[in-house]
Amino acid sequence: MSLPMAAQEALNVFEQAAGWEQRARLLMQWGERLAPLSEEEKSESNRVHGCESQVWLVAEQQDGQWRFKGASDARIIRGLLALLLVRIEGLSSAELAQLDLPAWFNQLGLGRQLSPSRSNGLNAVLQRMSQLAAGA
């Protein structure tokens, strides 16, 4: 399965990143790419709990393809959200269910962000995303 274009782009830059500082800078830059959520979309029902910051995840399906949107008030998790969304953009439910997302973050050199003691919320976001995708 070939990567979506933006995901390939992310992989290229993150693979080249040397050291935590550059990865942190990149994360913050990628976070700026998230399309903003409207105030209605930042609703309690779209909140992802279990994060240190406020995180929202909105899921829509169009013609069998998933369209996710996300936002947070913290910058690192915004970057992680952006990297998640570029990877899953436009997938069908079946494709999404098969996708190994931890492997994706490992490829980016961000696997440690998924360790259970990290309370940044990436784990909670992944769980919420699969619930949303499975429920539809």
Binding site: W20, E21, A24, R25, M28, C51, E52, S53, Q54, D73, A74, R75, I76, I77, S119, N120
Partner: protein
């Protein structure tokens, strides 16, 4: 000027952490352990484990002896009258739950429980849930601008309906000693039982429960350089006698029949089931270690590091301290920077500090925050640890601003 810790080498994990490029500044969450404790655990397991209080055989007798000696050491540490006033639990949390269940029959609908606005969830939720079960009123004593329980208001709120006053000695977020003396005296004059959450306080200095004058005092071993899985509930004998038994099982019973049973008094009556034997013995070893230190030197060392910490934080722009920390720790936020982002950057640089609500969500909310960073000190920390923290902090803030 470099401030070394004369006790650093007594804690093997500090060296191990340093080899992994980790600077440990989270001792208010849990502490590293002295070699003496590791030796005691290894000795116990290496020389024959046995259950306590039940077996007549030699290993059982030795284990029971060592276990009960720890009870005496804890009693001595707190200056309790009698080791029978020391109940071993699984932690401060379970000690507080024991109290909230054990005292339940003393309440009538409409009675009041007073806690403070800065309580750790462990000293809030057991009382909140008790209040819900019994139709009681939970009275929350407010804080003043320094992060201390506001005495003027508290002394008015604690009245004849107050059955229990349960307050922290030292806040795990604000790092300030609470004015226990007038609070406890007033509560007792109103006929209330008094509970002190010493989880943080017990770690700094020696506290004499008789002088404090509380009915109950609780703490966790793991914050006091001891093993985890053990907590202590001290109770005045008359206060312990008022507790209803709460967990039932082996060893806490006197006579058991199929349809009825009678139970032992404290402490064994409140230690149902096999206790954490090795950990209790280990706590005794940690107390031996601590008792052998020059208490004055320890206090000076901790105070010196704390001044260094506060100076460094105050020197940096945009850093806002929570309350006015007096010792042991400092919690802070940085204007315009999310604490989750700062925590990320510090973690990446091997700085082990705590970020988040510190199990005191209502307190953080009342300060208008959803989280903060907390740096906390142990007796093994030295000024280089703080230096590394400040360098990492500067680096993080440069990236974030």
């Amino acid at each position: 000027m470099f401030q070394p810790s004369p006790w650093r080498a007594d804690f093997p994990a500090i060296d191990a952490l340093q080899r992994q490029h980790q600077t440990y500044l989270d001792s208010a969450a849990t502490t590293q352990k002295p070699q003496i404790l590791l030796d005691a655990l290894s000795h116990y397991y290496g020389h024959g484990a046995a259950n306590v209080h039940r077996a007549q055989h030699l290993p059982g007798a030795l284990a029971t002896q060592a276990f009960e000696r720890s009870r005496e050491k804890v009693a001595g540490w707190l200056n309790a009258v009698d080791s029978q006033q020391i109940v071993f639990t699984h932690g401060a949390t379970s000690a507080l739950n024991l109290l909230a269940y054990g005292l339940e029959p003393l309440f009538e609908a409409g009675d009041e429980i007073a806690i403070s606005a800065l309580e750790h969830h462990a000293n809030l939720l057991p009382w909140q849930q008790l209040a819900q079960r019994r139709g009681l009123k939970l009275v929350v004593l407010p804080l003043d601008s320094r992060g201390l329980i506001d005495l003027n208001i508290a002394l008015q709120l604690i009245g004849p309906r107050t059955r229990v006053l349960a307050v922290s000695q030292l806040s795990n977020v604000l790092g300030a000693w609470q004015p226990l003396e007038p609070l406890l005296a007033h509560a007792q004059a109103q006929g209330a039982l008094t509970v002190v959450d010493g989880a943080q306080g017990v770690v700094h200095g020696r506290h004499d429960v008789r002088q404090l004058g509380c009915d109950f005092y609780v703490f966790s071993s793991h914050k006091l350089y001891g093993p985890d899985g053990v907590g202590v509930l001290y109770g005045r004998s008359e206060a312990l006698a008022r507790l209803r038994h709460w967990q039932f099982g082996g060893e806490m019973v006197q006579i058991a029949d199929y349809h009825s049973a009678s139970f032992r008094p404290a402490p064994l009556g409140f230690e149902a089931g096999t206790p954490p034997i090795a950990s209790v013995i280990g706590l005794g070893a940690s107390l031996d270690y601590l008792a052998g230190l020059d208490a004055h030197a320890v206090a000076e060392h901790e105070a010196g590091l704390h001044r260094h910490l506060l100076r460094g934080l105050n020197d940096r722009e945009g850093i806002r301290l929570l309350g006015q920390p007096q010792l042991a720790l400092a919690s802070f936020v940085v204007d315009g920077v999310h604490n989750a982002d700062l925590a990320h950057m510090l973690t990446e640089q091997g700085i082990a500090v705590r970020a988040g609500h510190h199990c005191a969500m209502p307190l953080l909310k009342s300060l208008g925050l959803d989280g903060a960073i907390r740096v906390s000190l142990g007796l093994y920390n030295d000024s280089d640890d703080l230096q590394r923290f400040f360098e990492a902090l500067d680096q993080a803030l440069e990236l974030l601003r």
